[in-house]
């Protein structure tokens, strides 16, 4: 840029003539790119630069991969029960064993247990037995499974080299099943079915709420009455009725899928009302009028022009709904319609933990599944947050 300076007689500062807005590259010496990009690219570009959000995204992806390869990743089958290891506490993985002479040697292993049965207290007592070393390996042969129901194989990512040795990295449950493996299998159901419900109530809530708030008048009146009825509707007998109506031949997963859909059919009302409230406030804004005058159809007005203003709220509501849906089974199971064994999901694992016995003596049954839910939810949240920030025009 050329700056020509002339000294003027009455100008105290120098008389300056510039021939364009002054801009400079972001970094010294870098070329100025003036190519404008589309809005989506813009958002994506901003998203990519958010480290936390990207990490969260990576975790979400990872969780789905875990779900996809559950059979391979889990050292044991989720239903295999070993009575002698009921309530076995978690073992730690360690790399070295100390030999009797005091030197240590590399040996990837977990420690075995010494088990005692206490007849009076009716329990097994586990003591880590330092002398029992259970060597652990990668890509070991373990129980036979079919990957995706197709490929029969015995390879597991990790497992005890001698397949009859006990390896309970996260402990065992009350039937002596491996919590780690169950957690891995649980990812599959929890990260898929539950989220369908979130998506459905999201769509219903947004669409009906938007319409109600946008049009007002009798449309609003009708939708509001529907909301009132739906939200005051007693769900418990509905579930009980449904549980009776659904054919027994359906598998528990199918049943739960249907239930999820119905949960979402009932769960949209609060979002709808919130969306409506915002629409009532926003519909008279000038930019909406402007878009209308531009010839936007009402659908476009609603979804393209007004709804983006609710991005943050909707993202927040969705991330809040995710944990609720993942653990919904636990409360539904009170009524006998949540997911039930033999299906494995995080909610089912938590169901198993809802008693004092677990809280008092086997906290790992409670902690790990909860942690799984928390991690999933936090990831969704941080990813959603990143998305929000990326879509926020004020955020650079």
């Amino acid at each position: 840029m050329s700056v020509r300076e002339t000294l003027g007689k009455h100008s105290e500062p120098s008389l300056i003539t510039v021939d364009g807005p002054s801009i400079s590259p972001l970094k010294e010496g870098r070329a100025i790119s003036t190519a404008a990009v589309g809005p989506w690219r813009l958002v994506a570009g901003k998203l990519v630069r958010q480290k936390v959000a990207m990490a969260a995204g990576a975790i979400i992806l990872l969780l789905y991969l875990v779900g996809l390869f559950a059979e391979f990743l889990a050292p044991a089958l989720p239903m295999t029960s070993r009575p002698q290891y009921t309530y076995a506490p978690p073992q730690g993985l360690s790399l070295f064993v100390t030999k009797p002479d005091g030197s240590s040697e590399f040996n990837f292993h977990v420690k075995g247990y010494k088990v005692e049965i206490d007849k009076v207290a009716l329990r097994r007592t586990f003591v880590v037995d330092d002398t029992k070393v259970v060597p652990v390996g990668f890509f070991v042969k373990g129980p036979l499974y079919r990957l995706w129901g197709l490929i029969p194989t015995e390879r597991h990512l990790i497992g005890p080299i001698n397949r009859s040795d006990p390896m309970y990295l996260l402990g065992a449950d009350r039937l002596g099943r491996d919590v780690f493996s169950r957690l891995i299998y649980g990812t599959r159901v929890s990260m898929s079915i539950g989220l369908v419900g979130v998506a459905m109530s999201l769509i219903l809530g947004v669409v009906l709420g938007s319409i109600s708030g946008f049009y007002g008048g009798w449309v609003d009146t009708v939708i509001q009455r529907i909301i009132e009825v739906v939200s005051a509707m007693p769900t418990i007998p509905l579930w009980l009725g449904l549980a009776a109506a659904i054919p027994l031949t359906w598998s528990p997963v199918n049943v739960y899928f249907v239930i999820t859909i119905i949960v979402s059919l009932l769960g949209w009302t609060s979002l709808a009302r919130e969306v409506r409230g915002r629409f009532l406030a926003l519909r008279s804004e000038d930019f909406v009028t402007a878009a209308r005058l531009d010839g936007s159809s009402e659908t476009r007005l609603i979804f393209r022009h007004i709804l983006p203003s609710l991005t943050s709220h909707i993202l927040a509501v969705v991330t809040l709904a995710v944990p609720t849906m993942i653990v919904a089974e636990t409360s539904l199971s009170f009524l006998g319609i949540g997911l039930k064994p033999p299906v494995v999901s995080w909610g089912v694992l938590l169901q198993d933990a809802q008693n004092i016995r677990t809280v008092a003596t086997a906290p790992w049954l409670l902690i790990w599944p909860s942690l799984a839910v928390v991690i999933a939810v936090l990831s969704f949240n941080f990813f959603g947050d990143g998305l929000r920030d990326a879509a926020d025009p004020y955020d650079n």
């Binding site: 002339t6 003027g8 007689k9 009455h10 100008s11 105290e12 500062p13 008389l15 300056i16 003539t17 510039v18 021939d19 364009g20 807005p21 002054s22 801009i23 400079s24 590259p25 972001l26 100025i32 790119s33 003036t34 190519a35 404008a36 990009v37 589309g38 809005p39 813009l42 570009g45 008279s284 804004e285 000038d286 930019f287 009028t289 402007a290 878009a291 209308r292 005058l293 531009d294 010839g295 936007s296 159809s297 009402e298 476009r300 022009h305 983006p308 203003s309 991005t311 879509a391 025009p393 004020y394 955020d395 650079n396």
Partner: protein
């Protein structure tokens, strides 16, 4: 720290402000220096987008997010001491003590700068009570007084109304009242009268002048109206591309401008005071002498506050608009101009009357009875430029989407073609297409206004209702835009309803002018005639208050006030 000369209350030294954007750094303000003196007015004029508002905001440390004071000092006399505002933390107590109390700011965009959910009164009362320890009722009394001073009718009632019930000009005045509420020593007025009719504008400027004289208030006035500059400025600084290109006493600037840009500015001002030469009269333009739009007995009553309080925003309006004609609408702030425009488009439902529109095929349709679907095609042909550009731009859409939207929804362009068309439109209104990916809030007031114009032009309409479409533009760009519009009119046989307070613009641009007062069209006639030989008393007073862009001939002082007849 350097001492300031005795009469200087604020000194800006080598101020630079950068915006770090996605692709580049924008130096919005570069090396700007000026001083504000007690009781004096510095007028900051300059091209739209040259950094005036950013400079003004930086004085209060409220520059928008990516903006950052990169360099320079802002020295404020603080009792015996001198504070460098640039070093203060934005939310800190000393900074807060300066805001409102020491430096009052009138924002450029009056329409969006007020809270939509609080009454005007409560917002002003609060401004009073932050800095002085008075009880609510005293503050309210003072608020009402302030509102009266800024010429808001029925101030005690209006104080309890909400922003959206105020017309553009009324909001601007409310904002002025708010800025004055803290009795600041320095008033920064960022285009404070753009939405005001000349009469009101004169009153407001008078009010400010009085305060300056009585309290020694210093003022930084940012404006595009060279007339106003001539009337009130002691000193003038001219900005362009983030720099002050010329600075000096008002007389010197007007009569011995150095910088080519300053000269261009003045030339444009003069040009606008004359009617366009060689402009073909509208009626002759059109082969068919049938009006394209006829408005009959149109009225709108706002009656939320009960029958007794019902307000006739538009009262029995009648006029015709012929193809290719530019009809100007002038009138007092709050007289119903915006409402009239909106009624024609049916974004506000009329209380009574009819609007007949003659479509391309020559068939007449009654706009008041159109269905939603029919309205949509009507809207394609009749476009509106909003008075409040900020509010009319979707904050979550990039400019490209905003301007492109009408093209997209009407299926006129997409992909590459869309982008090219948007770029072309932006260039047409003098915007750099580089800003295409920015969101509306990242533009200056004038730039936003041009975005609005570009959007209206995108569809090749038949009528454009332009509500204060050029108020935020500097004269040179303004004249360019007006010429552009005239050119388009010529080519496309377009008609304009041009709502404006700027009589010179109206005179330059319009064929006929309607004068509105309290919802009624009080006079309608040839532009030249209205501007030079008005018939009605109200019009006369209006014309008399037009400021003269010559500091040696301050006309505003000789204006006469119109007092409405008692029965109105």
């Amino acid at each position: 720290m350097a001492d300031l000369p005795e009469d200087v209350v604020l000194s800006v030294e080598n101020l630079s402000i950068d915006f770090k954007l996605r692709t580049h750094v924008l130096h919005a303000v570069q090396n700007v220096s000026f001083q504000l003196k007690r009781g004096q007015t510095l007028c900051l004029v300059g091209e739209s987008g040259s950094g005036k508002s950013v400079t003004a905001r930086s004085l209060l440390q409220i520059v928008d997010r990516p903006g950052r004071i990169a360099d320079g000092k802002i020295l404020l006399r603080n009792g015996g001491e001198v504070t460098d505002i640039a070093t203060l933390f934005p939310g800190s107590r000393p900074m807060r003590a300066i805001r409102g109390r020491r430096i009052g700011l009138i924002f450029q965009e009056p329409m969006s700068s007020l809270s939509p959910v609080h009454t005007i009164g409560s917002q002003i009362i609060e401004a009073i009570r932050v800095h002085s320890d008075v009880d609510k009722s005293t503050a309210r009394a003072r608020t009402i007084d302030l509102l009266r001073q800024v010429e808001i009718p029925n101030p005690d009632q209006m104080a309890d109304r909400y922003t959206f019930e105020f017309s553009g000009g009324m909001r601007q005045r409310a904002l002025i009242a708010m800025a004055l509420a803290g009795n600041p020593d320095i008033l920064i007025a960022d285009e404070p009268t753009t939405a005001l009719d000349v009469t009101t504008q004169a009153e407001i400027l008078d009010l400010i002048k009085r305060l300056q004289v009585s309290r020694g208030m210093a003022m930084l006035l940012i404006t595009h109206d060279m007339g106003i500059v001539a009337e009130v400025a002691d000193e003038v600084a001219v900005m362009r591309f983030g720099r002050i290109v010329e600075r000096g006493p008002v007389d010197a600037i007007y009569h011995a401008a150095e910088h080519p840009y300053t000269r261009e500015l003045l030339a444009s001002t003069v040009k606008l005071t004359h009617h366009v030469e060689g402009k073909v009269p509208a009626v002759a333009l059109s082969a068919a002498p049938q009006p394209i739009l006829s408005v009959r007995n149109l009225s709108k009553i706002y009656g939320w506050h009960g029958k007794a309080n019902a307000l006739r925003a538009v009262d029995d309006a009648n006029f015709d608009l012929y193809p290719g004609e530019n009809l100007g609408i002038v009138g007092e702030s709050g007289s119903g101009k915006t409402t009239l425009g909106r009624l024609i488009l049916r974004t506000v439902e009329p209380t009574g009357g009819s609007i007949t529109y003659r479509g391309k095929d020559g068939g007449a349709i009654d706009v008041t009875t159109l269905t939603k679907r029919e309205l949509r095609s009507f809207h394609r042909e009749v476009r509106l430029i909003f008075q409040d550009p900020f509010a009319s731009l979707n904050p979550r859409m990039t400019v490209k989407e905003v301007i492109g939207d009408p093209l997209v929804v009407n299926g006129l362009a997409k992909g590459r073609a869309l982008e090219d068309r948007v770029a072309e439109l932006m260039r047409m209104v003098g915007l750099d297409p580089i800003g295409m990916e920015r969101y509306p809030h990242a533009f200056s007031g004038g730039q936003r206004q041009r975005i609005g114009i570009a959007r209206a032009l995108a569809l090749d309409p038949r009528i454009i209702i332009a509500d204060e479409a050029t108020s935020a533009l500097d004269v040179s760009i303004r004249s360019q835009i007006l010429d552009l519009l005239l050119d388009i009119r010529q080519r496309l046989n377009l008609s304009f309803i041009f709502i404006s307070h700027d009589i010179s613009v109206v005179r330059y641009f319009c064929d006929r002018v309607a004068v509105m007062h309290r919802g009624r069209i009080v006079e309608l006639g040839e532009a030249e005639q209205i501007c030079t030989a008005p018939q009605e008393a109200y019009t006369k007073s209006l014309i008399s208050a037009v400021p003269n862009p010559d500091p040696r001939n301050k006309r505003m002082l000789h204006r006469h006030r119109f007092v409405a007849p008692a029965n109105a």
